[in-house]
Symmetry: D2
Subunit: 398 residues, 4 copies
C-alpha cells in the first residue's frame, strides 16, 4: 500500500486530536508512583481538574475510560435492585442503561426517538409519581455523542427540585466537558462521569467521576460490590497525591498540560469556539439539503453533528469513501442508526480551517458518491466563519 501523505483529519466526536504539547508532556520517562515527584503531580492534577468540572468537592481519576467511570458512578452509590431513572437520548444513554442492568439495578428508561435531548418535564413527571422515592438516581447524558444533541442539565436539576425528590443526579459529561459549559456545583450534580479523550484533548485511558458531598455520604453505605472503581480507597490515597494502585502516570502528565492549555485559552472561549463550529457545520449541511438527526435547534450539539443519509445510501460506504479519497475519518452510526447516518465531530483541539477542510472532504465525497446534494456547503460555512472573524475584528477595532 502506498503511503498516505499529510495530516489525517480525525473528525469523529472523540478521541479528538491530541495537541503536540500534550503528546510531548506525556512522552517522558515514567516515575516512581510512590515517590515525592509523583505526589506533587498527583496533588496538582487532582486539584486542577476540579476547575474544569467547576466543582470544589471531589474528583476521582481512574486508569480506565468513560465506561469505567459510569460503573464507578453507579457501583459506589447504589444497592442491588435499586431503581434508577434514565432518559434515552441515544446510543450512549442506552449503553449506560445496559450497564445499570448488568450491575443488578432496575432501570426506568424513558424512551425517546433519539432525535432530541432530555425532556426535563418527563423527568419531573416520573419523579412526582415516585411518591415513596424508589428512584435512587436520575442519570442523563449531557451531550449524546451518537445523535448530536445536547441536553440542558440546569433544567433537569430544576425538574428534580420541582418534584422535591431526593434522587442523586448523575450526568455523563464524556463528550461535553471542556467543550460545552458544564457547572457541577452550580447545577447540583451528584456524580459527573467523564473520559480523557474528548474535550480534555488527551488520548483515551482515564475515567473521571466528580462527586458531590451528598454522593460521597451515600457511598459509605452503598451495597453494590466494587473494588477497582471504589471511591473510599481513592479518597484515602488521594489525600497525599497518591492512588490505591498504579495510576496511568503518562496520562496524568498530559492532563496537567491539557488543563493549562484550556485555561490559557479561557474556558468561555473554548465553549464559544465549539458553538461556532457547530453553527458552521449545520449551515453547510443545510446548504447541501441534508437533514440532521437533532430535530430541535435548542438541542443542537456544539461538538458533533449527525447527518441522515438520504434514503438508499449507506453511511458506512460513504464514510469509507471519504476516508479512502480524502483521509478524513467520520463518525459511524451506532446500533439503531447503523449505516443510516454519518457524524462530523467538531470537538477539541481544532480550528476553523480544519473544520472547513473536513466539510470540503464531505462535500467532495457526496459528489463522488453521487448522493443528491446542493454544492456550496463549504462556501456557506466559510461565509459564516468569515463573518464571525469579522465580528472579532470589529470588536478589536473599537
Amino acid at each position: 500500500m502506498s503511503r498516505v501523505s499529510g495530516r489525517h483529519f480525525l473528525q469523529i466526536p472523540g478521541p479528538t486530536p491530541v495537541p503536540e504539547r500534550v503528546l510531548r508532556a506525556m512522552d517522558k520517562a515514567v516515575i516512581d508512583h510512590r515517590g515525592p515527584e509523583f505526589a506533587k503531580l498527583g496533588l496538582h492534577v487532582l486539584e486542577r481538574v476540579k476547575t474544569i468540572f467547576k466543582t470544589k468537592t471531589h474528583v476521582f481519576i481512574f486508569p480506565a475510560s468513560g465506561t469505567g467511570a459510569w460503573e464507578s458512578s453507579l457501583a459506589n452509590t447504589l444497592d442491588p435492585g435499586d431503581k434508577v431513572l434514565m432518559f434515552e437520548t441515544g446510543h450512549f444513554a442506552f449503553l449506560w442503561k445496559n450497564m445499570a442492568s448488568r450491575l443488578g439495578l432496575e432501570v426506568d428508561f424513558i424512551e425517546s426517538d433519539w432525535r432530541s435531548g432530555v425532556d426535563a418535564g418527563a423527568i419531573e413527571a416520573k419523579l412526582r409519581e415516585d411518591k415513596d422515592h424508589a428512584i435512587k438516581a436520575v442519570c442523563v447524558v449531557h451531550n449524546e455523542t451518537s445523535t448530536g444533541t445536547t441536553s440542558h442539565m440546569d433544567q433537569v436539576r430544576k425538574a428534580i427540585d420541582a418534584a422535591n425528590h431526593p434522587a442523586l443526579f448523575m450526568v455523563d459529561t464524556v463528550s461535553s466537558l471542556a467543550a460545552i459549559d458544564y457547572r457541577h456545583d452550580e447545577w447540583g450534580v451528584d456524580v459527573a462521569v467523564c473520559g480523557s479523550q474528548k474535550g480534555l484533548m488527551l488520548p483515551p485511558g482515564l475515567g473521571f467521576t466528580a462527586v458531590s458531598d451528598k454522593a460521597m455520604a451515600v457511598s459509605r453505605d452503598a451495597k453494590l460490590r466494587r473494588a477497582f472503581f471504589a471511591w473510599d480507597e481513592m479518597e484515602t490515597h488521594n489525600k497525599a497525591g497518591f492512588f490505591p494502585y498504579t495510576p496511568a502516570t503518562s496520562l496524568l502528565y498530559g492532563l496537567a498540560e491539557a488543563i493549562d492549555m484550556l485555561h490559557e485559552e479561557g474556558l468561555d472561549n473554548v465553549f464559544a469556539r465549539h458553538k461556532r463550529y457547530g453553527e458552521a457545520v449545520r449551515r453547510a449541511v443545510a446548504h447541501w439539503g441534508l437533514e440532521i438527526v437533532s430535530r430541535d435547534s435548542k438541542f443542537h450539539s456544539p461538538v458533533v453533528t449527525t447527518i441522515l443519509m438520504p434514503e438508499g445510501n449507506g453511511g458506512d460506504a460513504f464514510r469509507k469513501l471519504a476516508l479512502d479519497k480524502f483521509d478524513v475519518s467520520l463518525g459511524a452510526g451506532l446500533s439503531k442508526l447503523a449505516d443510516k447516518i454519518f457524524r462530523i465531530g467538531h470537538i477539541g483541539d481544532t480550528n476553523d480551517l480544519t473544520i472547513l477542510a473536513a466539510l470540503a472532504g464531505v462535500e467532495m465525497s457526496l459528489g463522488l458518491a453521487e448522493i443528491p446534494h446542493k454544492k456550496g456547503g463549504v462556501q456557506a460555512a466559510m461565509d459564516y466563519f468569515a463573518s464571525a472573524a469579522n465580528g472579532t475584528m470589529a470588536a478589536a477595532a473599537e
Copy 2:
C-alpha cells in the same frame, strides 16, 4: 530548587523504565478507534500478546491496571459467596484477598510469614480436604513484588492435579511476565493477570487477563456482577480487532513495539538477563552483610530484591537519602514491612551497568546513613557480572 542533572535511576520493581522505542511508538496522533487502521492494530496486538503469555487461547486487554485485571479474573468466573484459596506470599497476595472479599467471595487464606514463596504442599493439602469442591479457584502470585519471592507455578499445578481438584488456577503475573519464564498453557493456568508497567516495559494503564477455554466456559454462567471488566463483550468485539469501549490506543501502539523488542532479544535471553541481575544484587547485599527477606534460595526473585534494614534504621529515611543524594528511587516497604525494608527493582529495560549504578547508590547511601555494612558490595557484583560476561566471551570464542 536546583535542577537535578542526568538520568534518574528508577530502581523500583515497576513501573519500569520505558524504552525510548516504546515511548516514541506511543507518541503519535490518536486514531479512530473504530476505523480500519485501528482494527489492524487491535488484531495485531491481541494475537501477538499471546506469544508472551505462551498461550493459544484468549488474552483480554483492559484500559486499567493489574488491579483491574485481578477484578476481571474473579468477577468473570465466580458466583457471590464462592470460596477461593489464596496463599499469603506478601502484600500483593493480601491485596488480592482483600479484593476477593470486597467482591463478596469467601477467602481461605493460607497464612505465611512473607519470607518464602507458595508452599505447593499446603495448597495440595487444602484441596484434598475439600472433598465437595467448595473451593472454586486457587489464586497465587507468581512473583511477590513486596518481598522478592518467586513461586513455582508448575508445582502449584501439580498440587492441584495431585488433589484431583477442579478448581480454576489463577496466577498474578504482574511482576513476572516478560521477565521470568511463564507458561500459561503448559502449566494449565486458567486465568493469568498482568499489567503493562513491569516486564512489558510500558507505562501503566493496561491490565491483561489470559484466559483458558475452561475459564471462558465457566464465565458464561458466573454470577458476580461485571460490566467494564466483562469478558463476553470483549470477546465479541475483539474478533474484529475492536473493543466494547474506547481502548487506550497509545498504549496499544507501545505494546506492539514492546512485544517486538522482547522477541528481538529473545524471551529466553530476557529471562536469563533478569536472573543475572538477581544474582548480582544478592551478592552485593550479602557482601554488605545485610539480610534479604526471601529466606530460601529456591524462591529468590530475579526481578526484585527486598532487603531488611538493620534494627533501628528506618527504610523510608534511607530511601529518601538515596533519592536526594544520588537520584535513585528504591522501593518502599508495604503494609507490615513498612519502613522495615527497602527494595531494589532489577526488572525491565535495564542492563548490568545500570544495576551497578543502583548498587553504588545504595552502598554510598549506606555509608552516608551510617548503617553498619561492609564496603565492597558493588565490587562483588562487578566480579559476578564480569565473570558472566566472560562466559559469553568464552562461549563466543568456541
Copy 3:
C-alpha cells in the same frame, strides 16, 4: 495572549510540515558519531539519498543549509576570478549570484523580469559567444521559490551540449528535490545543491551537494579556499560512513526515515501529487480573478504559487491578517517583490484537504481585507480535486 487552538497551517514553500514519523525518528538519544552504530547509519543515508537525486556518483551531506550547499558547489570547483553564467529567475538566483561575488567570482547574470523560468536559448547564446570558454559554470535554479516558476533542466543541458561548451552545470534543487522530478545523472548535472527542509520533509539543518565525477575531478585543483564545505575530506571520511567533523546526527536519522517514506509513496506519485496541488491552487486564484507571477504555463510551479496583490493592497498586511484570523502562514514577497505578492506553498507532506483549508483561509482573508475578488475559488479547487479523485476511482474500477 490566548492560546490558538488546533493545527497551524504552514503554507510557505519551506520549511514544510515535518511528518510525525520523521519527528519521532529524530527524537532519540544522540549516539557516538565515531561508533559502529553511527557508521551503519552514515553508510545507509549516504547511499539512499542518491536514489532521490537519481545519481550513482557522490552526494555530500553538510550540517548546514541550502545556502551552505551553494557555497560548497562553487568553492570546490572554481578558481578566484572565474566566470560563471547565472540566470535571474528571481530572488534565490539573485542570492546565489551575490554569494558568487562574495567568493570572488565574476558573474555573467542574464537578467530577467522574475516572471518566467530559465530561457535555455539565452544560455545557449551566451555559451556560443564564449569561444575561449571563460565561463566555467552555468548555475540555474530548478524551482524559483520566490516567484513560483519551475525551469526545464533538460533544456539547459541541451543548450550546453548544443553550444559544445565544457562549463560545469550546477542546479539549485532546494525547493524541487523530492517534489518535482529531478534527474541528476540523466540530465548531466555536475553539482546539484539542496537543503533538508522542503521536499525532503525534514527540519532545516542539512545541506546537500550531488556531485558528478567530472565535478569531483575538477575539484582536485580548484583554488577557491574552502574548509568546512570541502569535498575532499568528506569523501575520505564518508567511505566508512563517517564525517570529518560532528554531523547533525538527529537529522540523519530523520533523513533515513524521510527517504523511506518517499519510496513507500513512490517518487512518481509524489511528483504527481504536487502537480495536482499546483493546478488546484491556480484554479482557485484564477477564479478569484487574481494574477500569478508566473506568466507562462510551461513554467508554473507545482510547489509554490506566487500571487500578485491588486494595486494598492500590501501583501504583508494581508498575510498578517490571514495568520491572525485563521492561523495560516503564507509566504512573503522577497526583495523586489516585497509587500507586492503573497505565496502559497503546496509542498511536502500535505494533502488535498490541507490545501483546500489553506485556500479557504486565503479566500476568507481576501473578503475580510476587502480585496476585490470573486468568491468561489475554494469551490473551483474542490471541483478539480474531486474530478482528480474520481479519475483514480474510474481507473481503479477498470
Copy 4:
C-alpha cells in the same frame, strides 16, 4: 542481532546525552522562519545565549558545527596570508591549524607533546618577539578534548597584555562552554568558538561565535572570502530575530530549553559538578594504576579524562570490548594518539551514578581484556563521591 537492553552509556566527550526536556522541546512542528513566532524565538535565544558565554556583545549562531564556527572566526577577521599564533595542545588545536592553512593563513604553531595545556609564557615570548605585529590572532583551545587538558584563558589574556600586543584573542570553547567556567568579556576574548553538542546538551548541528566589539570592527575590512559564515549579514538579520538563510529551527527550540536548564541548576553548580566528575574519574584511574595523558594537575580536565593504554594493548580493541560487553561508548584516540589511549567523557547532562556505571564498565573490561590493573577503582570513586555528598549534607545541616 539480539536487542541490547537498557540505556546506552555515552561516555564520550561529546556529543553528550541530550536531556529528555531538550529532546521534547525540539520535537515539534517546524514554524515559518520568517514569521512573528520565530522572531520571538530568535531574539530570545540570541540574547539568552550571551549569558552562557558571559558576554554582552555579539553571539552568532550558525546551522553548522564547531568546525564551521572555527572557519567563521578566522574568515571574518583576517586577510589572506595573515599570520596567526596557535598552540599545539592536541588534535583539535592541530585541526584548527589545518583549517587556517586551508584558508590561506600562515600559522606559527607552538609545538607541544599533547600532555599539557597552553604555556602562556611561550605565547608571551612569541608576541614579544613579534615587534611589527605580524601576528594578527592568537588562537587557543580552552579544553583540549583529545587529551583531557584544560588551559587557563585568563593567563593567555595576561600574556597578550604583558606583551602589549594587539592580536585578536580567539578561543575554542567547544568542549568547555557550559561545563567549565568561561568568561568572554572578563577575559577579553575576541572570538569564542563553540558547538551545540557538548556542555550545551544539544544534538550536533549548531556552531557559535561570540564576538567582541573589537573583532566586529576588524571584520568590516577583513579580506578572507566568506559567505555562509559571514557576520555582516547575520548581524543585520539578527536584529529582528531572523537569519540570512533558513536556521536550524528545531535546535533553536532546544537551545532555549537547554539554557533554561543550565540556569535552573546554576552555572556555578554546573561547573562544580564537572570538577567533581573529573576528580572521581582520576581517582579511579589512579587506583587502577593507569596513567593519564594530562601530566600536570593544573591542566587536568573536568570534562574528559584520557587514559594511556599500557604498552602492548590497543585502545580500540579495548573500547570495542567495553561497548560489546557493557554498552558503554568510550572516546577513541585521535591521530597520533590513535589506538594508544581511551577517553572517558564526563560532560553534560549526567550524574554521579552514571559516572560510576561508566567506571564499572571500564574496570570490568580491563579485567576481561586482561590488562594489568588493580581492582577497586570504582570503590575509590565511590568513596570520593560519598564524601562529596556528605559535605553537602554537613553544609545543609548547619
